[in-house]
Symmetry: C2
Subunit: 279 residues, 2 copies
């Protein structure tokens, strides 16, 4: 793909390794970029020496100014952001105006993120999805690593899809753990790793549980796509789970090759599913 046509990309960076991958992808393509890193979320070790401005979450006005000053016209949001309370936010005028408009109290996580996308667009930025930059990180359909699924696993995946879609429709979380039909745990603000860890204590005898992680129904793919990586797999193995089912085309997989090797080694399945067909 010719890089000269691509406009300068603003990378709004939350937590984890993905911002680093987007930076590497821009460099590989020769695409100009500028990082807007969210203090308390973005990890300096993954941003390295990339050109970066740091802002607090509440400094939306300053952030917009930095991006305009850098000549950014297209932005991507990548990496999880822990949603703060309004008091923690200490919003600048621009941010306060935003929350006055959207009404913080009434919104779930996804509602806030969708509103931020609209706000960026009103500021004149094009907002793209991380899958536009990192297409090869999206989960494929079918077996990704580990053994084939059996009837019990498929029944647990089906129950997990129903619960995850219901939970997602309420804009609460993306992940659920099901063991032999029993819903051991559902994710809200704690995140997937902590969900998996607590399910270790709730484990029943017999075949282990399955983690199901899906995009929320109607979720804008430009924000907060569900993500798994080697850490997720290791947490799952430590908690006695027997597999992970993720949404094909709707979940980011970090380090897929290493994940597949580790899944084979641990005997834990990782599979891409199409929930709308099954749900």
């Amino acid at each position: 793909m010719a890089a000269e046509a691509a406009p300068k990309l603003g990378i709004i960076a939350g937590g984890g390794e993905f911002p680093g991958l987007v930076i590497a992808a821009c460099r590989a393509e020769g695409r100009p970029f500028h990082v807007l890193a969210l203090a308390g979320h973005a990890d300096p070790q993954f941003i390295g020496d990339a050109p970066t401005d740091w802002i607090r979450l509440g400094e939306m006005g300053t952030g917009f100014k930095y991006l305009h000053d850098q000549g950014v016209t297209e932005v991507v949001m990548i990496g999880p952001v822990r949603r703060p309370s309004l008091r923690e936010l200490a919003p600048d005028l621009r941010t306060a105006r935003f929350f006055a408009k959207v009404g913080l109290k009434a919104l779930g996580d996804d509602g806030v993120l969708r509103a931020i996308v609209r706000e960026l667009e009103e500021e004149g930025f094009g907002v793209i999805g991380v899958d536009d930059v990192l297409a090869d990180c999206l989960a494929p359909q079918g077996r990704i690593g580990g053994p084939e699924t059996d009837d019990q696993a498929e029944a647990d995946i089906a129950r997990g899809i129903t619960v995850a879609q219901g939970l997602g429709a309420l804009d609460v979380g993306q992940a659920v753990v099901v063991q032999q039909g029993i819903v051991l745990g559902v994710e809200a603000a704690e995140g997937t790793d902590r969900l998996i860890r607590r399910c270790a204590d709730l484990r029943r005898e017999g075949p282990g549980g399955v983690l199901v992680k899906l995009k929320k129904p109607g979720q804008d793919r430009r924000v907060d796509l569900p993500t798994i990586g080697l850490d997720t797999l290791r947490e799952a193995a430590a908690a006695g789970l027997r597999g992970i089912a993720i949404e094909a085309g709707g979940t980011l997989v970090l380090g897929r090759k290493a994940l597949a090797v580790e899944a084979d080694r641990q005997g834990l399945f990782v599979v891409g599913i199409a929930p709308s067909a099954e749900g």
Copy 2:
């Protein structure tokens, strides 16, 4: 109420203090009763010297026989039971037949309990709700203890009702914690106390969260009514919550007077709500 007309009551006892309250109520009324205690769930200290047979969960056949032998014609199920996997259950012939019929894999907690009620009825037992025996333990509507709710608390309660009803419709859990519109946690197999405890770590700055606990939509009131007690209130206070909202007429409150005193002391509201009107 004349006691001589009331048939002998079979008390199928799960965990916690409620089985002891039902025993005390029968004694106070002079109503004959017999306890069928579930090993690993019922607490001997609350059953005391009441006439009791102990069975494992998987010994449904033996349990039915004990109740028939005792001349029991009416039963009540009281106290939480942790749902086991089929392997843990080690079912007797009668229990295995039951699960072959209802299909363990496909059922949530409530589905299994409803099926048990039907099975008891087919065995010739009348099944009554614990509120028939302990009417004064049901939550009333309105303020039970602590301060009045403010606008933020009411917005959090409304969001909690929506999420709890959605979660309940999926037959997953009964409780949710919401702080300033953020769903900190939702309950599945871990139970309410552990839900509250983990929300302490997820707490945001500013006004604390609210625990909302409701009967599942369509839940048979004869099984597993949501319950709170002094322990719930103390866990909530320790986790920085500012209040508890429970379903009026659909939640059991253990030791309401002591709860109200403690709620006042801690400055933590406890309120009975009618979710169908607000939800």
